[in-house]
């Protein structure tokens, strides 16, 4: 029997962390995601599962706490919003370099700078293309509902450990703050110390006499070896491509499609209904993972539809990947409000008519 609750997206993530057998959460408050650490502190997960929760002195400290904990084989996690993620950039790069698994969430707000506390999707580039220094990628997954906020915590941890790489839930202020019904998954017990050691033979858990010492580092002063290491990371990112996830909504007979993720996908879904009521054959392709990106599906759709409109609350970031995917076969435009403003379904429908159908 399901365990149903009415929850905020941020609370669902916090509850899911406890249920996913998370060992440690380290975070620093920032709107619009402070509910995550507030919920955790109120729940006293150290009593429920033995999970450690610590309010760090900064996001810089948080991400480095993750580095330490992940390096010691533990399931660790932090959440933040845009400016905080910028502060974490160095640490994320170090974790990718040292091949450390962790789960991150960015509940995106409008920027640049201090910007606004209102929702936005303007951190796509930062999340999907890098953000920190060096050649690295994260597994990036974008929830469009409170249910997915909960479910993706589990997927995020699984991917992080499968690829020994940071995984990021790219959310936004809408999904983080809104309340919806959520079916909570059954708790997964935290691993015992022996299970951690068995699952992570590479981790710094204490050098027992039966093995060589373990070292967690991203450093290699020998360029040839460093090149080898970066090529090894590349192979991992290539292997990660098979994890791509997307959702087709009414694309079968569509002549035009929206491409949108997260809260924009929810808005586009409404616009699809409105367009269909007017007799326009519109569909929606919702990328669920942003890295890997559903390139093949977009290319396939490009031979079926006349045009695509990428809808995102930004000046146009994901649209670049949509254009790359369709290889110039069809027209791809971008529409989106910025600065914390949220486009309405009718604005999105208007944009499709003016920029794609009539344009």
């Amino acid at each position: 029997m399901g365990d149903f609750k009415l929850m905020k997206g941020n609370e669902a993530v916090a509850e899911a962390a406890i249920r996913a057998g998370c060992d440690g959460y380290f975070g620093y408050p920032i709107t619009p995601q402070s509910e995550v650490i507030e919920y955790l502190m109120a729940q006293q997960p150290e009593k429920r599962t033995g999970m450690v929760v610590l309010q760090a002195e900064s996001e810089t400290a948080s991400i480095n706490m993750l580095y330490g904990g992940a390096g010691a084989g533990k399931r660790v996690m932090t959440t933040s919003s845009s400016p905080g993620i910028s502060l974490m950039a160095e640490g994320i790069s170090y974790m990718a370099g040292a091949e450390l698994p962790c789960l991150l969430m960015n509940v995106v707000r409008g920027g640049p700078g201090l910007g606004t506390i209102q929702p936005s999707q303007c951190d796509y580039f930062q999340t999907v293309k890098g953000g920190g220094h060096g050649d690295y990628r994260m597994f990036v997954i974008a929830p469009a509902s409170v249910q997915e906020m909960s479910d993706f915590v589990k997927i995020g941890f699984d991917m992080a450990f499968k690829y020994r790489n940071p995984a990021m839930i790219l959310s936004d202020g809408v999904i983080g703050q809104m309340m919806e019904k959520v079916e909570l998954f059954d708790p997964i017990p935290r691993r015992t110390d022996a299970e951690v050691i068995a699952e992570c033979p590479w981790a710094t858990t204490g050098k027992t006499p039966d093995r060589e010492r373990n070292i967690i580092t991203s450093l290699d002063l020998d360029s040839l070896k460093q090149e080898e290491h970066v090529m090894h990371l590349k192979a991992k990112y290539e292997a990660m491509q098979k994890e791509v996830m997307f959702e087709n909504i009414m694309t079968d007979d569509a002549e035009y499609i929206y491409v949108a993720y997260g809260s924009s996908a929810r808005i586009c879904q409404k616009a699809v209904d409105m367009a269909r009521a007017e007799g326009i054959k519109v569909g929606l392709l919702r990328p669920i993972t942003l890295y890997p990106f559903p390139e093949a599906e977009l290319l396939r759709l490009a031979s079926q539809v006349k045009g695509m409109l990428a809808v995102e609350m930004s000046l146009g970031q994901m649209v670049e990947d949509v254009r790359l995917a369709v290889r110039g076969k069809i027209k791809v435009e971008h529409y989106g409000r910025v600065g914390g403003m949220i486009h309405s379904p009718s604005q999105v429908l208007e944009a499709l008519k003016s920029q794609i159908i009539g344009g």
């Binding site: 760090a56 480095n64 580095y67 330490g68 010691a72 204490g206 050098k207 580092t217």
Partner: protein, 266 residues
């Protein structure tokens, strides 16, 4: 090389006569430090304490960026290399997630007292149950001898080529006294490795620090005032003399806080 199988040696090479041997807690890797640098001796004392306490399999060390970033090449137990300044954050998480392991950081002065000031102060203030070993050579050794927060007034470095001028470049920071003032530190002590007697005192202090951790006492913070003959542009002998004459008056050796109580005015 003498052939140790020769009969003449057999009465000499006996356990009673042994005065020196390598510790298995250090690897066979040749140290990469400049000849005369204090880092190697500090490593060695740490390794000896870990050997004597029999905690090699329970120890997790952290060395951030600085000349000792390669400490993991020389220390024979599990180690993590941290971003510049962040070792206390790593240590915080590791110790909280593995409370039955011994966790220490090994940090330079640029690392601990400049870029990592926030992590240092907050780990100390929270009273994390860790050991911090702070090697203060008054300079950024690794990057080629730039001014550090600990650089003495008048001292020449590559970014204070005419000498550190306090009014323009700030005053040297006694961060050890600063952390001693925080309730989370239990043991704070300053040492050196330039003479055998001082080396022995450092070893004793490291032992106290790890024993404190065994009893969950909070932060044990040990400063090692050391030389950087390359950065200071002095011979090893000269750098040790200079250190005694200039560094020790500003960074006086000895205990500052013992059993959670200040034993010296800050």
């Amino acid at each position: 090389m003498a052939d140790v199988t020769l009969d003449v040696w057999k009465d000499i090479i006996t356990p009673e006569n042994q005065v020196y041997r390598r510790t298995p807690v250090m690897t066979m890797k040749e140290l990469s430090y400049c000849p005369g640098c204090g880092h190697g001796t500090a490593h060695r004392m740490l390794a000896e304490v870990i050997e004597e306490m029999g905690i090699q399999s329970e120890t997790i060390g952290i060395a951030p960026v600085g000349c000792s970033v390669l400490a993991y090449e020389f220390l024979n137990f599990d180690m993590q290399q941290a971003a510049h300044g962040r070792a206390p954050a790593l240590a915080t998480a590791i110790k909280r997630l593995w409370p039955n392991r011994y966790v220490f950081t090994y940090q330079g002065d640029g690392d601990l007292a400049a870029i990592g000031t926030a992590e240092t102060i907050h780990a100390c203030n929270r009273g994390e149950n860790i050991v911090i070993i702070f090697v203060n050579n008054g300079i950024y050794g690794m990057t080629g001898g730039q001014m550090a927060p600990t650089t003495l007034p008048g001292m020449k470095t590559s970014t204070s080529p005419y000498g550190r001028e306090a009014i323009l470049m700030g005053n040297p920071l006694r961060i050890t006294e600063l952390v001693a003032a925080l309730p989370g530190t239990y043991y704070v002590s300053r040492h050196s490795v330039h003479k055998p007697g001082n080396v022995r005192k450092l070893k004793k202090a490291i032992r106290i620090a790890f024993e404190n951790q065994k009893e969950n006492k909070g932060v044990s913070f040990i400063e090692v005032v050391s030389n950087c003959n390359s950065g200071w542009k002095m011979t090893p002998v000269k750098s040790n003399e200079w250190m005694e004459e200039n560094m020790f008056p500003f960074y006086p050796l000895g205990d500052i806080k013992v059993d959670g109580k200040l034993v010296r005015e800050l």
